[in-house]
């Protein structure tokens, strides 16, 4: 089959391959080992399928590619409309890249209800990919909500001590916020007669909606609230540390690696795509919140006694960069925001896996329980250091590129934003290195740590791909940015006049 005849269906295959795996998993294997191999096979298959996407992606084009548009429900006019541009391309690949690693990291650590765990993991993967590929607002909402249940169950069933509390909190926070988005989507449908993202965007841009100006601000806020809680933007972030601390490792990896990006992706795609005018008007306070998030997240991370909580707060700080880059309305800011999303997915995913490995051995995340681990676990310590350096933005590793671009975008928008955000980079070096020092250097303080086994084979299989990706992304960011850039440019077109204004200030 030629690639052209494939191309309308490839997104469907990629999206639903994990779901197929989950369904087969319900019936087929019985023994725990078979279940794991089966889940691994399907997640790897999805990853391989998804590699088709960047390989055959037309990098110079900003339009949606691999589009498929079929009528699903006639009234209301709901289409099965999927497509992909440079913004969603890498987020999908990130999802499919992280899922097999999640299977690896859960190989030994999930011993109870193995089948349910992997079924949920695969369903979650389908929902996540669906969020990034849907171009129909209804379909998007469908997948958006569909991510909630498997994630909440992963936290609530397979998590640690206060898992139920964390799961319910996660669920309620995101659920309550997203119903406002539903209301906004319904308003758009009632006035445009379609759920199609492209059609609605064009209608709004042409000014074909007479009642739009009066409602636009509320619609913008309806979408924004749903995304801001997901990101999470300060002050909607309180669910995140709880969810992370209680979640199983694989849950944390997908939560930080992909789930949070649903929020920033939504801002870029919908808040900016549909409501450029309102995005400009609201950029001031949103950027302020993002800055607060960057600094607040970093400062709180500094004083965390719990490793996982520390990384959770560092996520808040990093995602602040993303929001800052998006609402700077600059080319560099957009590219940077996209790149930080990917880099954060890889390196924070790696960090969560590494802390998970430690938890597996000692059943605690408290920093004070550790010390001097570099001696008993040298490979582990080296891997950890590598990911930490990537995360804090060392040049030649992935964190640096994105943060640099965002900062330059923020400087273009307003110098003070850039200056304040730049301190976030310093803070992140502080809290990460300080944590590293306390955990790995010095003498072994706790006798139980004396004989901890080093990385096992399947743990290496989970962590090292992250490290490799961090390195490649740092050395050759153009591989990624080549596809991102045209899409960022296209997303920026409605703001070209605006940019002049912001820069002129």
């Amino acid at each position: 089959m030629s690639t052209d005849s494939w191309s309308p269906y490839i997104l469907t295959f990629v999206t639903f391959a994990p779901l197929l795996g989950a369904l087969l998993l319900v019936i087929f294997p019985r023994r725990d080992r078979d279940i794991r191999i089966f889940a691994l096979a399907f997640s790897l298959l999805t990853f391989l399928l998804s590699l088709h996407l960047p390989v055959h992606f037309h990098r110079s084009q900003a339009e949606f590619q691999y589009e498929i548009d079929r009528s699903w429900i006639s009234t209301p006019n709901i289409h099965y409309h999927m497509g992909m541009d440079g913004i969603s391309l890498w987020l999908v690949v990130l999802t499919t890249f992280l899922t097999p690693l999640c299977v690896f990291i859960s190989w030994k650590s999930v011993r109870d209800r193995v089948k349910e765990f992997f079924i949920l993991l695969l369903i979650l993967e389908t929902a996540l990919i669906g969020v990034f590929t849907s171009l129909d607002l209804f379909l998007f909402y469908f997948f958006w909500e569909a991510t909630l249940i498997p994630m909440a169950l992963l936290i609530g069933v397979f998590g640690h001590e206060r898992k139920v509390y964390a799961a319910v909190k996660f669920f309620m926070y995101t659920m309550i916020a997203s119903v406002f988005m539903l209301a906004a989507i319904l308003w758009l449908y009632a006035h445009t007669g379609t759920f199609d993202f492209v059609a609605i965007r064009d209608q709004i841009a042409r000014g074909a909606l007479p009642s739009f100006p009066a409602a636009a601000q509320w619609l913008f806020l309806g979408f924004f609230l749903a995304f801001a809680v997901k990101v999470p933007l300060f002050p909607f972030h309180t669910w995140l540390p709880d969810a992370h601390v209680e979640a199983p490792t694989a849950g944390s990896v997908l939560l930080a690696g992909v789930l949070l990006k649903m929020g920033t992706y939504g801002m870029l795609r919908f808040n900016l795509g549909l409501f450029p005018e309102q995005a400009r008007h609201n950029a001031g306070w949103i950027m302020t919140l993002a800055l607060i998030g960057i600094i607040y997240g970093a400062l709180v991370a500094m004083v965390q006694p719990n490793m996982k909580k520390l990384i959770a707060y560092s996520s808040i700080s990093h995602l602040g960069f993303v929001v800052l880059g998006i609402f700077s309305f600059t080319q560099a800011g957009f590219n940077g925001a996209m790149f930080v999303m990917l880099a954060h997915g890889v390196s924070t995913g790696g960090l969560f896996m590494l802390t998970g490995i430690l938890h597996e051995r000692r059943h605690t995340y408290e920093i004070s329980e550790f010390g001097g681990l570099a001696a008993p676990m040298p490979i582990y310590a080296a891997s950890f250091l590598f990911i930490v350096l990537a995360s804090l933005g060392l040049p030649l590793l992935n964190g640096f590129i994105g943060e640099f671009l965002v900062l330059s975008g923020a400087f273009q928008a307003k110098a003070v934003y850039g200056i304040l955000a730049a301190t976030g980079v310093i803070w992140s070096a502080c809290y990460l290195l300080w944590m590293y020092q306390r955990v790995f250097y010095g003498k072994v303080t706790h006798p139980a740590n004396q004989s901890l086994p080093d990385l096992l084979a399947f743990e290496k299989a989970a962590v090292w791909p992250c490290a490799l990706a961090a390195l490649v992304m740092g050395i050759a960011p153009i591989l990624w940015l080549g596809a991102i850039d045209p899409a960022a440019q296209a997303a920026l077109t409605p703001f070209t006049q605006v940019m002049g204004k912001v820069v002129g200030q």
């Binding site: 909500e145 169950l153 139920v164 319910v168 669920f171 659920m175 309550i176 209301a183 319904l186 009632a190």
Partner: protein, 517 residues
């Protein structure tokens, strides 16, 4: 209706063969009900349970086939008292289908609770007769009679756990309040007759379209809404619901929280949209907002699963009532279609949920508190997964019927510019997610503290659950056909523009002269 006394008109009113076809499902249900009742004392009680059950089930299947047959000959019957159209066919299917599934899910319950089968099944069938008739009646007096038929059988069914004080209490409470509410409805009918001179919905509609609306019509409308509001358990007439649901046998709760409600909503749709009385919008807006909020907030603190689901059913009545607050025809069509879809989706998930509750409750319904469900995910994974799906549907999560039901209602409301009501609705559905989630959390994330026996799922219940599951998923993934059918039938309810529309049906009616007056 003075013409009825005239010989010529009398001839017109003699029922023809086709008239009987148009109530064929009701006739068949009645016949099967009578056969079941007659057979019951003749057979040995222990052995006849299954036989009678299957006979009753056969009755519903026959009635479903009869509905298909009836759908071939739409039109009015019995002097314009009964109207067969897509709308009534839809509700016939729904109500009789619910009755069939409930009968299936009762097989085991009957054996465990040692209930005499004959009366029980016969009452379900008779109740279904009344409810089916409610959906096709266009004459307020006939609606009242049908309402009474359905109510009286549900009153008795509520009290079927004879050894339980709570069941008798529920029955009495339901009976007293219910008769009170039907009296309101009857009073409203009487006032409507006084104000317009008609009891036929279509004629009332035309009279109101033609002439000025007197104050009495408002009062009549309000009183009728009170009566029907009670039947659908909408706030502020919802107080009876938790107590009655708690006391009644669990399969019967599955029945009475869906079938009579669907029938009452059918009547409500006809009354509200066909009569199109002014001033109703405000009342229904308020009832919708109150029901959603009180239902959801009430459910938050419940520890008994039956009570929790009772409050949830109040909330769902609220979502459904949102679809009634439309005024102009284009929006009304969307509203009616959304409401019809909602009743179907709600029936599928609620019958299923109560089937699980009744199975799990065991003898004497001992295990109905939330704590009893702890660890169900481990002890009976299939049962837990099934209940989870129904709860997710009630919550309104994608892939399930409940999601589309809510979605259609909300989108109809937004289209009709009911932004505030929609906002109240979406916030409520977020609140609602919490208590459904609580059940799921308890099932999967808590270890059971006491030993709760879980018996294997018997055939009847399994079939009932399978049907409910399939319906829930079908409505959630391929809602198109049901929705399209609902949309086709929606315009039938709207008041027909005056000229020519009734030339065919209104030969014998004096109302022909109305426009000239």
């Amino acid at each position: 209706m003075t013409n009825l006394l005239l010989p010529a008109a009398l001839f017109e009113t003699i029922p023809q063969g086709v008239d009987y076809i148009r109530i064929l499902p009701e006739l068949l249900l009645s016949v099967f009900g009578i056969v079941v009742m007659v057979l019951d004392p003749l057979l040995e009680e222990e052995k006849s349970q299954k036989l009678i059950g299957f006979l009753a089930l056969g009755g519903t299947v026959a009635a479903l086939l009869a509905t298909l047959y009836m759908a071939q000959s739409p039109g009015l019957a019995f002097s314009n008292m009964v109207k067969v159209d897509n709308f009534s066919v839809f509700f016939h299917f729904l109500i009789i289908g619910i009755a069939g599934v409930v009968i299936l899910s009762s097989f085991e319950y009957m054996a465990v609770e040692k209930i005499r089968a004959g009366e029980y099944y016969a009452l379900i069938l008779f109740g279904a007769v009344g409810m089916a008739l409610m959906s096709s009646a266009v004459e307020l007096v006939l609606i009242f009679i049908a309402l009474e038929i359905s109510s009286i059988s549900t009153y008795i069914l509520t009290g079927f756990r004879r050894n339980e004080a709570s069941s008798s209490e529920a029955s009495l409470k339901y009976f007293l309040l219910g008769s009170f509410a039907t009296a309101f409805f009857l009073y409203g009918v009487a006032l409507m007759f006084g104000a317009t001179g008609f009891t036929n919905i279509d004629q009332i509609s035309r009279k109101l379209e033609a002439g000025p609306v007197v104050l009495l019509v408002y009062v009549a409308m309000a009183l009728m809404l009170v009566g029907l509001g009670f039947k659908v358990a909408a706030a502020p007439f919802h107080i009876w619901t938790p107590d009655v649901y708690e006391g009644a046998p669990a399969p019967i709760v599955g029945f009475m929280s869906t079938a009579p409600k669907a029938a009452a909503f059918a009547v409500l749709l006809r009354v509200v949209f066909t009569i199109n009385a002014p001033g109703r919008v405000g009342l229904l807006w308020l009832a919708a907002a109150l029901s959603m909020t009180l239902g959801n907030v009430g459910a938050l603190v419940q520890s008994n699963v039956k009570r929790l689901l009772a409050y949830s059913s109040i909330a769902h009545a609220g979502y459904l009532l949102m679809a009634f607050a439309m005024t102009d025809p284009a929006n009304s069509t969307a509203g009616i279609a959304a409401a019809m879809f909602y009743t179907a989706a709600y029936a599928a998930m609620n019958v299923g949920a109560f089937a699980v509750v009744s199975h799990f409750g065991n003898a004497g319904e001992r295990y109905v508190s939330l704590e009893d469900y702890a660890g169900l995910g481990r002890s009976s994974p299939m049962l837990a997964a099934t209940l989870t799906i129904f709860l997710l549907s009630l919550m309104g999560i994608p892939m399930t019927g409940g999601f589309f039901a809510k979605f259609y209602v909300f989108s109809a409301a937004v289209k009709a510019h009911l932004i505030w009501l929609t906002l109240i609705g979406v916030i409520n559905s977020a609140i609602g997610a919490y208590y459904y989630l609580r059940i799921i959390v308890v099932m999967y994330m808590r270890e059971s503290r006491k030993q709760v026996p879980v018996t294997p799922i018997p055939f009847g219940l399994g079939a009932a659950l399978a049907i409910s599951l399939v319906a829930t998923f079908y409505l959630g993934i391929l809602p198109n056909r049901v929705l399209e059918y609902a949309q086709q039938s929606a315009p039938e309810l709207l008041p027909v523009p005056l000229p020519a529309a009734y030339a065919r049906t209104a030969q014998t009616q004096p109302a022909e002269a109305l426009p000239q007056r």
